[in-house]
């Protein structure tokens, strides 16, 4: 039977789900004018009721362990169980103000993780303080700004962002007090060198690039781009969302990038958790190390310590030292992969993507022909005569127990269907996905209404999003007042 209750709706007066030791202290009193006026409406349920409720709620979700999840630009790879176990070890549950002498194990993990990331990316030092990819972008752009300010080059306030970039890029530029200026891309999303040359001047702080770009194409002129931008006095920022295909093969630092962020929840297998917590370490070349946000974890001899007095840094961007719990999982994964396997991650993620692309290009319109990296984009079905859209295809895939690809991104492809299989999927899984995609394409030809009405097998059908946005109902009390 379909489970449709909210926790508030199974609540019953005087039921409890917790136990606490009897208080050993006398009751101290709070002045009455400091007390809240109205009782909060919190649930009252037994432990089993709570567990059963959330177990039933979980059944309405789709996770990587259930089935194929080829969500482009999100790198939905397998999240190893061991990472979870190790990050839960009680030895790591320390108060953040514990003195360094009592947290040497944690500091070593922080330091070693940043060192391995530096080695893999070709940048010199990383901070693990940023909480997510977008947070890393913000910190990285602040570093870019601080660098120019320190050189008294303060008129450099513009950041070049390709029109195919992730939405966070221009938004991060704005939040960092810079102005995003869009550069037109070539048909394959790569930077148009002529257009770039025209934009470069003494107001340009730098450029933000994703490489391979959001169409899955490697920026083959990257060395020339780097030279042009550097000669014009700008810096290069690497958006690490698409690092997976280059892992162990080629390094952003060697390409000429000065600053980058990495999404530990993408490339390094820490779970996405339904949207977070993530972790967005930022790496820089040595001439930018002084700007890294404080606190900074350092090593002297065999001892690790925390430095929070650095004057030239951009300041503090997190309350403490970032999402250490996420770092623990990434460190576990880094050690598991090791030198022997990093490059295979890059290779097999690219192999998988190209295999799907070649297998489906007779049914779906390839936005760009040729070899892709870890992901690629279809511009909807080839046969558009039945007006079956990308959204329809995505919804029909739900009926076949496949998580749909990313849809309608990048914006430069009208009917974008962006597929990223990742390296952890087997040929057998890819083959069954290819079969399903072909079946849907066939259905779109022969029975378009079937596809347009999908999904049929999900717990809810297509939703009325307009009403939700016009009259937002955003909490339980709103439902009570209806």
């Amino acid at each position: 039977m379909y489970y449709d209750k909210l926790i508030f709706e199974i609540s019953n007066k005087n039921r409890v789900g917790y136990s606490l030791p009897k208080s050993e202290f006398k009751n101290y009193t709070l002045p009455s004018e400091m007390l809240r006026n109205k009782e909060a409406l919190l649930p009252e349920v037994s432990e089993l009721e709570a567990v059963r409720h959330y177990t039933n709620v979980s059944f309405k979700n789709f996770g990587v362990e259930k089935g194929f999840y080829p969500l482009g630009s999100c790198t939905m790879k397998y999240n190893p169980k061991i990472n979870q176990d190790l990050s839960n070890m009680l030895e790591f549950n320390m108060h953040p103000y514990s003195p360094a002498e009592t947290t040497q194990g944690l500091l070593e993990i922080y330091y070693e993780t940043q060192r391995i990331l530096s080695e893999l990316s070709g940048l010199d030092t990383f901070t693990l303080n940023p909480y997510a990819g977008a947070h890393g972008e913000l910190a990285g752009l602040m570093i870019m700004g601080a660098y120019h300010m320190k050189r008294n080059d303060s008129k450099r306030t513009k950041v070049i962002v390709p029109d195919s970039a992730h939405g966070t890029n221009p938004a991060s530029a704005t939040v960092a007090g810079l102005t995003a200026v869009e550069v037109k891309s070539n048909y394959d999303g790569t930077v148009n060198i002529a257009a770039l040359k025209e934009m470069l001047n003494d107001e340009i702080a730098g450029i933000m690039l994703t490489n391979p770009n959001t169409l899955g194409i490697f920026e083959k002129d990257i060395l020339e781009i780097a030279k042009l931008v550097h000669d014009a006095g700008g810096l290069l920022y690497y958006d690490g969302a698409n690092l997976n295909p280059l892992l162990g093969l080629a390094r952003p630092g060697d390409m000429g990038f000065d600053i980058m962020h990495i999404n530990l929840h993408k490339t390094f297998s820490t779970p996405h958790g339904g949207g977070g917590p993530g972790s967005g370490p930022v790496g820089v070349k040595d001439y930018l190390v002084e700007f890294l946000p404080k606190p900074v974890i350092k090593k002297q001899g065999n001892k690790y310590y925390i430095e929070d007095t650095n004057e030239s840094c951009i300041g503090q961007i997190s309350h403490f030292y970032g999402n250490i719990g996420v770092v623990l999982k990434a460190y576990s994964y880094l050690l598991t992969l090791g030198k022997e396997n990093f490059h295979k991650v890059g290779q097999y993620s690219v192999l998988n993507a190209n295999y799907i692309k070649e297998s489906l290009k007779n049914d779906y319109l390839l936005a760009i022909d040729g070899i892709c990296k870890h992901e690629f984009v279809f511009d909807g079905l080839i046969d558009k005569s039945q007006n079956v859209t990308t959204l329809d295809v995505a919804k029909r895939l739900l009926d076949y127990d496949v998580h749909p690809p990313t849809v309608y991104f990048p914006l430069v492809v009208h009917e974008a269907l962006m597929i990223e299989p990742t390296e952890t999927e087997s040929k057998a899984t890819l083959d069954s996905f290819i079969d399903v995609m072909r079946i849907v394409a066939e259905e779109a030809r022969t029975n378009p209404e079937l596809v347009k009405g999908a999904p049929y097998n999900t717990v809810v059908k297509r939703l009325d999003e307009a009403t939700a946005a016009r009259n937002p109902i955003v909490k339980y009390r709103d439902l009570l007042n209806q």
């Binding site: 202290f25 101290y28 996770g63 040497q104 080629a250 958790g273 503090q316 190209n354």
Partner: protein
Amino acid sequence: MFKYLPHTTDDIQKMLEVIGVNNIEDLFSEIPTELMGQDLNVPSSHSELELYQRFTELGAKNKKLIPFVGAGSYDHYTPSVIRHIIERQEFLTAYTPYQPEISQGTLQYIFEYQSLICELTNMDVSNASMYDGATATAEAMFMATSNRKKDKILVSKTINPNIIEVIKTYAFYRNITVDFIEEKDGETSIEDFKAKNSKEYAGIIVQSPNFYGIIENYDGYREILDETKGLLIINSDISTYSLLKTPGDYQADIAVGDAQALGIPMGFGGPYIGYMATTNKLIRKLPGRICGVTKDSEGKRAFVLTLQAREQHIRREKANSNICSNQSLLALFVTVYLAIMGKKGLIEAQTNSFNATHYLYEEVLKLDGFKPVYDKPFFKDCLIETTKDVEAINRTLLEHGILGPLSLGKFDVLKQNLLLFSATEKRTKSQIDQLVSLLGAL
């Protein structure tokens, strides 16, 4: 062969044939050769047993301590149920709920989370969470400056200095001027606020209980701000609203802060979760994800991300925030915590913490060399001044497996002898008595 890579030689060969290339290297031929093939100085692959061994060694390099400090990270009890729920793969391994038909699980708990945050803060609408309390406060500043179209903000000096640092960083790069309101007797000075407030400011950010643990009173703030159309932004450890007056009671415009104290492990500082709630009037200025209720095509109640047009993936450079993720799994953590602890348990845990901190305060003040700093009501942090050698205190306590108080000297050299203690419901009377006797013996 490697456990996370299922490819056999035969698979690879067949796939290459379909692609039409001879070997995997051909898939990378457009990358300039000088960029390929660096020899990396990285560890070699660890088996699961070796990994356990390595982490066990690293864990042994940490020293387990009983904390008597809070200051933004509190050692509260975590019900066992929570980890089992949040580690269900359906929650743990899902992405942001872009496809609502197969993400009703995530969307529903986010809706429950928003409802709980609104209940605790007495506000109209909550987003689906932020990274931490400090960054949430900085986002609240952006929300205010953008809404009021002003580039100046007032910030009370009694706010946790780490939060102030984050506010300052965010403000500096976006050309927002932060002016500070002085403290008086450990509280935000309302006189200084009245004197400094003007139409140039988008509003004021205050914190209660403040950095010293003191419960501030904001009566009169609304009226002062109404004269200048400024916004009232109140930061708080949300667990304290189990008992204390809420932002809604003060007619605040934005409520922000950290929700770590709702049972989230100290975890050396993260991941935590920031909350952010506001009024109906400001709903479209709220950054981050928001979940709403709607119906599906068959009339069934369903949940969906709503008001997305505010967000970075649509507004790009015009978005007021670049927030993309939320702390979804921690939102689930907090939701399950509040379901398990419930109406009574939350109040009991916080009351016990309040009582334990007050007992600690009374007992320490009975000792020679310790005296009170302010005579103000406090919650679960308390400030005590000592004439003793602060380093010696913390060294002695460490030798006995105790993490002692935070010396405010960390933030202000003149405050070296001011000590910030805290106790939660996890601290027993005998632990506090041991702390007191160690302090007394110094």
